[in-house]
Symmetry: C2
Subunit: 441 residues, 2 copies
């Protein structure tokens, strides 16, 4: 097996030739930006059939290279173990035959989505006879910065390509070889379909400075950045990026059990929202119970959580219902545990529930449990979160569950994309005016 350095050089040639001769990092990144813009312009004029073919071909290439992928991944894992990474990290990093197959299938799923480009989003017929259409077009060049999960290279790359965009991928140092091999497969799929391989580029060096350059926008050749990773990465991206970012920093999601909640439904939804998977951003972190039903609902809900293996940290009233409840501190209300822990408190009413969420929440996903439609409507109107559910688990915060097919992430910003970011959110639009000689008076 080649040494690390030789391997990087070999692959970086495969990955676009940007490093045929060693370039200073800034020149190398600027060149990647120019290649991406050129590829994006070409991709914007391709048919959906060509993009679909490219992605199906990429999926085949991933399957065919399963052994090579797993071998490259083994090198990444060996380095990660040598660096003392924990088992949770190794698990995120690891590729197995089943995971390679899942990656290929995910690429095929994206390939099969409806064409997000060319949708007529609105039509205006004007009194002067002009017909004006707003029609979706690709967004441009999307920078994706990810950490240990190598599948992001294939997932994000295919979502970008499906929407007619170019992607610049920056893999975490630990997943570098795995990502490189996956990107090579995706690029071969693009070439098989006659599309420019540079529509998906991996930054071919591990320098951390490359991230800073990417966040700077590469001379206007990056339109948006999507960070996929832990809070450290997202926080850095949000602080440093000179281009728009689709991301969320925290997912401090709330379940509010309103006075008109059905207890059985509340228990079922709450347990799912907290415990189905505790590490995802849509997992509930705080339970709010309406004082009007605290006597009847609080104890059964707390008991159900504890019996499901969840630690409960509560206010005085919550502590009073079960000796196993630990006291919640101010910090608890601001904490995304990403674990089997929940904070819980009693609120006076709907208004106080909304106030609590606006004070401590992260504008991600919240849910109200109630049979009162007016209360639900007010909650959904006044809570300023990307997703506000009524009688449903917060864990539905997911592009797949929304019917988007796949998502590149979930955004809590207010510009362009909010909530799950699927292929539709990776498009912009233009206007087509259809006239028969109209002039403006």
């Amino acid at each position: 097996m080649a040494s690390v350095a030789a391997d990087v050089t070999d692959k970086s040639e495969v990955l676009g030739g940007a490093a045929d001769a060693p370039l200073p990092l800034a020149s190398l990144m600027a060149d990647i930006g120019r290649r991406a813009r050129k590829a994006a312009r070409a991709l914007a004029l391709t048919s959906d059939a060509a993009r679909t073919q490219a992605l199906n071909s990429a999926a085949s290439a991933i399957r065919e290279d399963a052994e090579g992928l797993i071998a490259a991944n083994a090198e990444d894992i060996a380095d990660a173990r040598a660096a003392g990474r924990g088992e949770a990290f190794i698990d995120r990093l690891q590729l197995t035959p089943a995971r390679v197959e899942a990656i290929a299938k995910a690429v095929e799923l994206v390939a099969g989505l409806p064409d997000p480009v060319g949708r007529v989003l609105a039509t205006f017929e004007r009194p002067n006879g002009l017909v004006i259409e707003r029609v979706s077009v690709p967004l441009g060049v999307i920078g994706v910065i990810f950490e240990s999960r190598p599948n992001v290279a294939a997932d994000a790359g295919s979502l970008c390509v499906k929407a007619g965009n170019a992607a610049i991928l920056r893999a975490g140092s630990e997943s570098f070889r795995s990502a490189q091999r996956l990107v090579a497969a995706v690029r071969s799929g693009l070439e098989n379909a006659g599309l420019p391989a540079d529509a998906v580029q991996l930054v071919p060096v591990r320098d951390r400075e490359a991230v800073g350059l990417l966040l700077g926008g590469l001379d206007g050749n990056v339109d948006v950045i999507v960070p996929r990773g832990g809070k450290g990465l997202v926080a850095r991206v949000q602080a440093e990026a000179r281009v728009p970012v689709f991301a969320h920093l925290d997912g401090i999601c709330h379940v509010f059990v309103h006075r008109d909640a059905d207890l059985d439904m509340a228990r079922k939804v709450l347990l799912n929202a907290k415990m189905r998977r505790t590490g995802i951003c849509g997992a509930a972190e705080t339970l709010l119970v309406d004082r009007a039903v605290a006597d009847t609902h609080l104890k059964p809900l707390v008991t159900a959580l504890i019996e499901a293996g969840c630690e409960v940290r509560g206010d005085a009233e919550t502590q009073a219902v079960d000796p196993r409840v630990k006291p919640a501190t101010e910090e608890d209300w601001r904490t995304e545990y990403e674990d089997a822990i929940i904070s819980a408190r009693v609120v006076d009413d709907l208004s106080q529930a909304i106030d609590h969420i606006e004070t401590y929440g992260s504008h991600h996903t919240e849910s109200i449990i109630t049979q009162d439609k007016e209360a639900a409507a007010r909650f959904q109107r006044e809570v300023d979160s990307a997703i506000v559910a009524h009688n449903a688990s917060t864990q539905f915060a997911d592009g797949g569950e929304f019917g988007f097919g796949a998502e590149i992430g979930i955004a809590t910003g207010r510009m362009h994309a909010r909530g799950p970011v699927g292929v539709e959110q990776l498009t912009s639009f233009k206007y087509r005016i259809h006239g028969n000689g109209q002039t403006r008076p």
Copy 2:
């Protein structure tokens, strides 16, 4: 009449109390940001009826204060004349009784627009019975930086309020008193309707550093910046802003006369596109004529332009049809004249026309004149501009002409808003999930 300094102090109190005691500029601006965010949160929960009432009341207040407005404006004009400003500048700055009435009417027009908030933009029904709605919500806090036209204070402020947003307005030094007086009227309208006056704030100082602070985003309290003014302003904003910007730098708009163009239609549309108003961003700056019809179409088009008072700068073939045509330099193809001047050239075909536009254009507005629907469709697909017209004047690049009622500007970026930015583009969205106890498997 009070001295300038006293006047500023008096008004800044009216304008929000931010300067009750003199604050360092950074603190003052940070305070404006916090007030705006607070007002935006409150405004997001108001009814359309309240926002409409506030704007109608603002229009009345503007009318009632016509004398005061014109007096304040006279001071601005006196200073501008003393500073040696030209007549075109003075004209943009000047308020007359008719212009005050027009400003009030414009505010009423915005008041009467359909509510842009709460529109259901999409509905997904999921196999598990969940109904998911994408619904429009206000965008947040919008910073508007403008120069000499005081009406922007009322126009932009009312567009922001209609969409449930707060506005932070930064007036050019020369229009400061006029803007102050207009903003005071708008704020009184807000208060009359029980809405927070801080939904529209004017930066109460003339320091140029205030612009830099606003562009920095005021600690996350500014969501988007809209510059309204000359290229110097727009370029500075685009270079320095740390938040998204809705703007266009250039409007280098093209008219392409295709081989299947009707000559009469081409002449009529071209003259309108170039000469109706030469100073607006949708005015045509370059004429491209298909070689296949150069023999029949080029001379009549050039003659019509020259006879309408337009200077023509052409390539060799265009110069050959009329001795009055001046030679075009490379720089001409990149120039937005904003004047009765046009560059003109012959292109080989549709492909070369598209190449020319992509090479020299500014992604604003272009038009193809042709009877060939396939050529038009290809032009509209491949030209990467915000607005691409077929058989219609480029001067339709305007929110009013699109039926948006009014616009805060035209954007050539690809994020969130593109083309005319009306009240709809000043909204974001959220998702509402309607369930009956669904949990995620």
